[in-house]
Symmetry: C2
């Protein structure tokens, strides 16, 4: 019996074990263990299932057996939960860049040759200056497309006097057309798993700036309160006491303790 | 008592008689008569009224007294009724261009330096070739903005080997930022009443390619049937017999007669 998988984009494709295993291996689960977990989930799959449902089942097994890996597995959807009412993606990504040694400024108004622009992030490192446009989507399956790449490039040309390079940063994937164009005109793109090994997920791993939205112990209300007060990453929580978390998140001390414990699972 | 006018964009401004008069004069109503009609409508205006409502009342007075001018007055909203299910705006505008002496092709796939593109209209006249991007909005108050102008320009740069100039054509207005940018980079724009005297409405007047959607005698169903069969402009109707109109629009001969009579009001 073949299982059909419905992707977030609506496309349907046959289920592939190797993809499920690879998704676990990427989060640090040893390959043998990853295969065993996938086999366990496979036994109960219906004939037609969404990608989301497979992830949910694997994530819940992971939470029991390898809680730290489960947090990393939850990263992609955690990023989606940063917005739209939560903490803006561009501020979050500016933090990632700072950790990587860039100086950053967000929402910078600049006068171009032919128009005025607001640039999401201006970043500077080693004497080079970058114009960074963030595209945040909170619907899975959305892709950043050629039109976006085109207008970002035109904006860069108009602001050419200020910048050495333009980047597009997105929490989703880019279309193939957009990637081809970006590479051809000499822009950089950071997207989900693009470029290979230097995608958004890789930069987050490298800087360990996991957003607090990876935590399964964090309720909606507590999440919103923490984000609104500027506590965005697990690193922010590591520095806090149980009492502080309880008071800012508006939860009891027992719940705050649980949140802090889960957050510490990813502490190096 | 001051009347407040709510514009399609949601902005509110005080009612101005001169604007209402000017809108009639632009459709060919003599100024004295225009003032009289406006005064008549003013007597019954509520304290807060939408632009749309003022237009509706003026249009209905015009239909009684100056039916041919009423058709021209209805033009802007008639263009909105060309889509989205109706006849595509880019095909309609290509007809306007043909009448102005351009050779045109619609929906042309072209390989650029860095990406593949589909160009809405390719037009050629006097040895110059134009890349034309159409932006059709069917909600009044929408404006074509800087982002659109930026991506059209980047597309033009990528297709620079094929074209001498890029145009943006829209049935709505452009934002001031978009106009400033378009002029500065050397693109052309055709929008509602832009540029002064050569806007979309002026080109339609010049070519007399009034869309059939200006006709008040044309019901929704008949309109859809005619558009679907490729009968788009009053000129198309002028060439038809009452019997043909009745059969294609799916109406009785009496109704077809009425439609044809109204259409002929704008025949030169």
């Amino acid at each position: 019996m073949t299982v059909e998988v419905v992707k977030a984009s609506g496309e349907v494709e046959p289920y592939r074990r190797d993809k499920a295993v690879a998704s676990l291996v990427r989060c640090g689960v040893p390959r043998g263990e990853a295969s065993a977990l996938v086999a366990e989930v496979e036994r109960e799959l219906p004939q037609r299932v969404t990608t989301h449902e497979i992830h949910r089942r694997l994530e819940s097994l992971l939470r029991e057996r390898h809680p730290a890996h489960a947090l990393r597995y939850a990263l992609r959807r955690a990023i989606m939960r940063l917005g739209p009412e939560g903490y803006p993606f561009e501020k979050y990504f500016a933090k990632v860049l700072s950790k990587l040694g860039y100086h950053t400024w967000t929402n910078v108004a600049l006068e171009g040759r032919c128009a005025d622009h607001e640039v999401d992030i201006v970043a500077e490192r080693g004497g080079r200056r970058y114009m960074i446009e963030c595209k945040y989507h909170n619907a899975p399956g959305t892709r950043t497309d050629l039109k976006v790449a085109l207008y970002v490039y035109a904006r860069f040309l108009d602001l050419r006097d200020y910048f050495d390079e333009a980047w597009i940063v997105t929490n989703t994937k880019l279309t193939l057309e957009a990637i081809k164009y970006v590479e051809c005109v000499g822009m950089q793109a950071v997207a989900w798993r693009y470029p290979e090994g230097r995608g958004l997920e890789a930069l987050i791993e490298e800087t360990r700036l996991y957003p607090i939205t990876v935590l399964s112990s964090l309720g909606d209300d507590a999440r919103r309160r923490l984000l609104a007060s500027g506590y965005v990453t697990l690193e922010d929580l590591w520095r806090m006491s149980v009492e502080e978390i309880a008071s800012i998140a508006g939860v009891g001390e027992e719940e705050a303790e649980e949140i802090l414990e889960e957050a510490r699972l990813l502490k190096p």
